[in-house]
């Protein structure tokens, strides 16, 4: 089972991101489960949503305490919420920011994980360009597909297409695609850096 925890703020589409991810996995014949952290919905308040992906039916209903991957939709949460709590060794982290892990003061922390599993992506900026609103969720799912390979960009795009009317879907798919390519470039740079360094 592969478990993803998504942190963000009310209004950023955190719950929708988990749902879309579950639909993308479903489209690849996987079993998946997405659920929110069930708080009262308030714009700006910290929100958590969860997604599990497995090859067999998922019965577990506890919140994800030991995630294999983290998507952080809002970097201002880093100092407010224990977003990294329980992250498994070998886990993935994708943060929505134009800055690097070092810029965020996470250089030391990042050393505990494989560099190829950590990435930042300016998802809000990408969303503003394509969607025209600061909704980073679709971009981050594109980035997640590139970072982890757990779902394909095509499945993410299909899930977006299933959820939204055509025009909204198209702009979100464009955002997801740009973020996917951005993360792929970052990972290539990282791999090249690792070889020369």
């Amino acid at each position: 089972m592969f478990q993803i925890r998504i942190h963000g703020r009310g209004g950023q589409g955190v719950v929708t991101a988990a749902e879309l991810l579950s639909v993308a996995a479903f489209r690849e014949d996987r079993h998946s489960q997405a659920f929110p952290s069930f708080g009262s919905e308030r714009t700006g308040a910290p929100v958590v949503a969860f997604c599990r992906i497995d090859n067999r039916p998922i019965r577990l209903r506890e919140p994800i305490l030991a995630p294999d991957a983290l998507i952080i939709q809002d970097p201002t949460l880093l100092h407010q919420v224990d977003v990294f709590g329980g992250l498994q060794p070998g886990g993935y982290i994708l943060i929505n920011t134009a800055r690097t892990f070092a810029d965020l003061g996470l250089a030391e922390f990042a050393q505990k994980f494989s560099a190829a599993h950590l990435c930042t992506v300016p998802a809000t900026e990408i969303a503003m360009r394509h969607v025209g609103r600061p909704l980073p969720n679709a971009s981050l799912l594109g980035g997640f597909a590139a970072l982890t390979g757990r779902v394909s960009l095509e499945s993410v795009a299909a899930a977006i297409g299933e959820k939204f009317p055509p025009k909204v879907a198209a702009s979100n798919v464009a955002a997801a695609t740009e973020a996917y390519e951005f993360v792929q470039r970052q990972l290539k740079k990282e791999a090249a850096g690792a070889e020369t360094g």
């Binding site: 988990a18 998946s32 489960q33 997405a34 069930f38 209903r61």
Partner: protein, 417 residues
Amino acid sequence: MLKQVEGSAAVAEAIALCRPQVICAYPISPQTHIVEALGRRVDAGELAPCEFINVESEFAAMSVAIGASATGARAYTATASQGLLFMAEAVYNAAGLGLPIVMTVANRAIGAPINIWNDHTDALSQRDCGWLQLFAEDNQEALDLHIQAFRLAEELSLPVMVCMDGFILTHAYERVDMPTQAQVDSYLPPYEPRQVLDPADPVSIGAMVGPEAFMEVRYLAHAKQQQALELIPAWADEFRRVFGRPSGGLVHEYRTSDADVIVVALGSVLGTIKDTVDMMRDEGLKIGVLGITCFRPWPAAAVRNSLQQAKRVVVLEKSLAVGMGGIVGNNVSASFSGSPDRVHTVIAGLGGRSITRGSLRRVFEQALADSLEPLTFLDLDRALVDRVLERERVQRRSGPIAEGILKDLGVVAAKLG
């Protein structure tokens, strides 16, 4: 057809396939997505001639459902928590009148303190009202039970409550196999009422009955529930034949055949319990699970039969009979053929408290080691409780408990001005 959808959407689609004629509801979390989805379908003309009636309260919702059902319409509503309590008088009336209304209860705690999260206090508060009560383990079962509920309700002329865990199921996206209209039509024939308000053939429904026959009418309600104990497995078998999957029935056994300890529970927590039991089984520990799908009527014989070999029974329930202990636990004790002191009650998950494998494992290991107390509150923060008790001991005006406990926790309570 396989789909990846929210539990509420799956249930709404199943209700739509059941061809309801009147849907009346008042919104309350976590039931709202179900009736919103149905409202959109009615509005789009997909369910014609179904009428969606917006009402001003839950009491009105059940009253409209009663009126609609009495005219021979297939009636549906949904509620949760305080909403169910607010309609309680009409809930009893629907059962007493023998009207086959189907209602979803998206299980949620009851205040005060106000809490929107899941437990089973709402549905279990109505356990003696004369409705059948079915509990879904996952979203597939939730949608399947609604289809069975209409069949059972109309066959017995009794209302049926389908209980699904609020948020945990209603707001979870997972895979469901959505039946076709043809399958549902072949399982659920058009409603043929036993009694109907028809201007062409007038009758009155709801006569006053005095001491001369009230007992007999109540006895008939009980006898009908006993009939339901036979019909429920039969209609579950029929369901399996038409839809190709097992769903519903009275109880589900899981790895119980050689189990020393059997855990009994209702609803979605069964999944987490089964995963915990699998881990313990891998280590050779003899533990199994009994899921109660049908809580009313209480399947005493099936429960007794499933538990008879167990040395210890752990009833894990999301409800509390304040001043007594467990509600499900008490029902189990009354049906268990062994010594009642071998039944342990664990109160868990009240007001949405997470129930984790780690915590479950701790109490299950205690049961295997014969060290589990008769009544346990899973993951209770004893220190937090003691602070309140101490405050009340030293200070007459100790203040409101909920606000005090949040202050102790360091959580900011709702600020008033």
